[in-house]
Chain length 123, copies 2
């Protein structure tokens, strides 16, 4: 069996860096013409159209016609499965951050104690 199609699911669709770039351009949630994406990312127009096509098939973006323009809009809700999935593993690095914070607070307390002591010594 070959690799799953990029249009199979969101995970495959976002595996492509350029598609993530395109998504980033649409992050404001507003409508953007293909040409905007092209000039912003400086990618060949056919490439952008193709990538947008993949994103559309998966539902990450939606299109609407405005004259001769095709306006693409981000439908970020489709990214939720990715978020839900990766959130399961969040604790693995969040705990680490907590420990760092803890150590920092301990140092802060120690420093405050020291400063408190020298203040008393000044009295």
């Amino acid at each position: 069996m070959p690799r799953a199609a990029t249009t199979t699911d969101v995970f495959n669709a976002i595996a492509e860096p350029r598609r993530r770039q395109i998504i980033a351009v649409l992050v404001d949630g507003k409508e953007h013409a293909v040409g905007e994406v092209v000039s912003t990312l400086r990618l060949p127009q056919p490439a952008v159209s193709k990538h947008l096509g993949v994103l559309r098939k998966v539902g990450i973006v939606s299109v609407s016609k405005r004259g001769q323009l095709r306006m693409y809009r981000l439908n970020a809700k489709e990214l939720k499965p990715v978020h839900d999935w990766v959130k399961t593993y969040e604790r693995f690095w969040t705990h680490q951050i907590d420990k760092v914070k803890e150590r920092a607070e301990q140092k802060m307390m120690q420093r405050m104690e020291r400063e408190n002591q020298s203040t008393r010594e000044e009295e």
Copy 2:
């Protein structure tokens, strides 16, 4: 150009459903032999070895020898880039949840008012 290699980055590595399944088996953070994964997921052993190889190249898992066993352990920190990326778009559905909560609270308030009223009527 063909599609990027699955060993290129984490995004490509986790695009494969079976690899996500394997990651799920290793979620407890403890060491697991290949055979455990094989029997848990009921996948062919060569397939599991190959997928573990991909995950290892990307750094998502680490290996250590224990006799004739190869113990694989999840290195979930490598998934952080995915989390960081998708978190940028979290607000798109979180806001929706907030709205749902808001509506629920409004209904609750209305209900309380009604009950309050009927209580007064009982007086």
